[in-house]
């Protein structure tokens, strides 16, 4: 079993499945966030549900964090292994002639997104943990909308969210499509609907997050 997990293909499977899991999470995250633009009451209800439902809090959330950590650790491990596979670099390497910059630099886009997650977790997750478990504040089902909107008041934070989501889109552009190849779906190579769907999703979801951040930022200015 340990030999299997150490194999290069098993690692590809782990990378791909954890990535696909994060894609599903992002979709759910976006669906909830967009309600902050179109229906603030619904946003409050959904946020309260996510914040206090025991299944979400004590089963789904640890699984999500585990998925994120696995994806991150495996990504770093692969990068180290791949660097060792070419100890002497080419003096001239024309990568753009045969592959996209995004596909070759997943580690860069991934690390930027990870760094952003630090801020994002500090902004929302750490705040929630402190609210509920450190200060033991009472449940307040209508506080989420105002708190979220307030976060986007500073220009610097909005800019960081925009940049991070551009990098996220780049990461997803290669990663989402590539994960199907890794789990053995040959169809993704044929330029069919699956490939087009992954590309469209990779742009639309981060674009949606950017829209939400900008919407709340400029709504407060005017």
């Amino acid at each position: 079993m340990s030999a299997l997990v150490k194999s290069s293909i098993a690692r590809k499977w782990i990378m791909a499945l954890s990535g696909l899991f994060l894609v599903i999470f992002l979709t759910q995250h976006f669906v909830i966030n967009i309600t902050s633009v179109i229906a603030p009451d619904t946003f409050n209800e959904l946020s309260h549900f996510m914040g206090y439902n025991p299944i979400v809090q004590f089963i789904a959330q640890p699984i999500l964090i585990a998925g994120l950590i696995i994806h991150f650790i495996m990504g770093i491990a692969l990068e180290i292994k791949n660097n060792k596979a070419r100890p002497i670099k080419y003096s001239k390497y024309s990568g753009n002639a045969n592959s996209t910059w995004v596909s070759r630099n997943m580690i860069i886009t991934g690390l930027v997104v990870l760094a952003f997650l630090g801020l994002h977790m500090y902004d929302f997750w750490a705040h929630e943990i402190a609210y509920k478990f450190i200060y033991a504040e009472p449940e307040a089902a209508t506080r989420y909308y105002a708190e979220t909107v307030h976060k986007f008041e500073p220009f610097w934070r909005t800019v960081i969210y925009v940049i991070a989501n551009v990098l996220l889109a780049m990461h997803l552009w290669h990663g989402f499509n590539s994960s199907f190849q890794s789990v053995g779906a040959k169809a993704v190579n044929k330029g069919n609907g699956l490939r087009k769907f992954t590309y469209a999703w990779s742009i639309l979801i981060p674009a949606g997050f950017i829209f939400i951040a900008l919407y709340h930022h400029f709504n407060q200015i005017h």
Binding site: K84, R86, K92, N98, S99, K186
Partner: protein
Amino acid sequence: MKLTLKIWRQASPEAKGNMVTYPLDGVDGDMSFLEMMDILNEELVNKGEEPVEFDHDCREGICGSCNMMINGQPHGPQKLTTTCQLHMRKFNDGDTITIEPWRAAAFPVIKDLIVDRTSFDRIQQAGAYVSVNTSGNTQDANSIPIEKAKADEAFHSATCIGCGACVAACKNASAMLFTSAKVSQYALLPQGEIEATDRVQNMVRQMDIEGFGNCTNTGACMIECPKGIKLENIARMNSEYLKANV
């Protein structure tokens, strides 16, 4: 045509190599890249210098020996072409051409542009075969009906010449296109089914032992492959590997 060649020179596997610049005049556009290298070597020999070592054999694009990283691309700028089939008309007068060996831990340099690709042989030895009874009662392979599309795909996978351009092009020095082509050429045929489990497990294990990097699906291997081996082979190997282990 006047050219400036920047070539990796390394006297032995242990020696420290470096890029050496050579001016070369009188290159004709109709020469193959290897003929251009022959002219350079003639000049070097006439000057009493050590010629540039490079691998070559058939010079017709089927042996997979003439491996050079030319201006940062395996086998040079022309797609679906080995170095021996690349002509100098693809370059311009006054060009500087950088020529390096394949770079991979699993392909150590023997001398100058020649690398040791026996790691590929060991991957093949680990499972890229079908065991056939050759006692005299061997069944004719053509007596087993095979779907035309599958036979064509297996044949296309089998056209891999094992040159290593996939490894050279891959930013991770991954050998997954090569290994998957060799897995696929049997996995697609009924003759290969019997040993399918051991084949994919053993070949992947050997590929990992050799120290190749891991595939991150950039697709560079397929673009640079002189035989156009497809990425679908890697997807097929990934699913074959799962089937073999679950």
